[in-house]
């Protein structure tokens, strides 16, 4: 990437099948625009997202990652979304420890009907990461190779 090209962040969104993923579907059927930077990985429950999945996404070059789960009290599996929030907080600390920065990881909650919220989150998070600039990891991989 040359310095002239605008920075297009790579963002991975782990989306719960029962809410955020369905919200993304709704955003699609309603033809709402949201940035193409966000790659969605559907998970059975946000609680299924493990620390290692998040770290691997960064290790492989993601500039930002978020986990999107159900609204409080609405988790299909009762408390998967609470676990996900706590795990996100834990991985944020790990990211701070190695100087990647906690702010590159976030947790969002939305219901299946919130197509607009899904598009808004995708937009806002993309802007946040765009402002932070690229993660050092991707280019470092290239340099160190």
């Amino acid at each position: 990437m040359t310095t002239q090209e605008p920075f297009e962040p790579v963002i991975i969104a782990f989306c719960c099948h029962y809410c955020a993923y369905t919200a993304a579907d709704m955003a699609g059927t309603r033809r709402l625009c949201y940035p193409a930077n966000v790659s969605i990985i559907r998970v059975p429950c946000s609680g299924k997202v493990d620390a290692i999945h998040i770290l691997k996404a960064f290790e492989k070059g993601a500039d930002g990652v978020y986990v999107a789960g159900c609204l409080d009290g609405d988790c299909h599996f009762k408390n998967g979304n609470h676990r996900a929030s706590r795990r996100v907080a834990y991985v944020q600390k790990l990211l701070d420890d190695i100087g990647i920065g906690a702010e590159r990881l976030a947790m969002f909650k939305m219901s299946a009907g919130m197509g607009e919220r899904f598009a808004e989150v995708a937009k806002e998070f993309t802007e946040t990461i765009r402002a932070l600039g690229p993660t050092p990891i991707r280019s470092l991989h290239r340099d160190a190779a």
Partner: protein, 222 residues
């Protein structure tokens, strides 16, 4: 079980900085249960180290492997085929596992990636508390199943001390007074007469008082 906690990442980085190829070894037993050094944590640490070193302009190679038990020679033997190809070994097992690796693979530097803490039990998901100090002569039979050695801050044999207040230990309002717990349980069990008996001074030679201990079972030993 034995509990442990991952060391600060900077300390781990300093241990392995001079090396290029690392074997990172977890253990499937206690450290897996307390989420400190099982297969998952090996993956997490490996990923963190890769990224932390990349940020410093260095790419390292990390081989990941998790043994059934790192404190047993049979399992440690599994690493034979991997050891030659690496410059150093990083262990996520308790101190016993780390020492077993160091004993078996004399020519490889072996570094600990966790701090081994204590023998504990889970109080609830994600919370482990010290329960036994391995004193070698268990008193639980006369203390209503609550250990005064591991749980009384002063290791008193005949407590409580004058600092016990409202069931809490004087070191912190968050710590239960072990002797208050013992008394309450003895009362509930109708066994308060046990409390009247003075527990004599403890023979610490059963514990660490006589140096490192060993258990030899003649019927099993080869």
């Amino acid at each position: 079980m034995i509990t442990a906690e991952r060391k600060p990442i900077d300390e781990i980085i300093e241990y392995i900085r001079p090396f290029q190829k690392i074997l990172l070894v977890g253990c499937n037993e206690c450290v897996t249960v307390c989420s400190a050094g099982g297969r998952k944590e090996v993956g997490i640490l490996s990923s963190m180290l890769q990224m932390a070193f990349l940020k410093q302009g260095k790419s390292i190679q990390i081989l990941e492997h998790t043994l059934e038990r790192q404190c047993d020679p049979e399992y440690v033997e599994e690493l034979v085929s991997m050891i030659d190809g690496v410059d150093a070994v990083l262990s996520m097992a308790c101190g016993c596992g780390v020492q077993e690796l160091a004993r078996r693979y004399r020519n490889k530097p072996v570094f600990p990636a966790v701090n081994t803490k204590f023998m504990g039990a889970s109080e609830r998901q994600g919370v482990w508390a010290e329960r036994c100090a391995g004193c070698g002569d268990c008193l639980l039979g006369i203390t209503a199943g609550i250990c005064p050695i591991a749980r009384c801050s002063k290791q008193l044999m005949n407590g409580p001390c004058g600092g016990s207040t409202g069931g809490k230990c004087e070191i912190s309002p968050d710590v239960d007074c072990a002797w208050a717990l013992i008394w309450e349980r003895l009362k509930a069990l109708n066994l308060t007469d046990r409390y009247e008996e003075i527990i004599p001074a403890k023979d610490w030679r059963n514990g660490r008082g006589a140096g490192p201990r060993k258990i030899v079972r003649e019927d099993l030993a080869e």
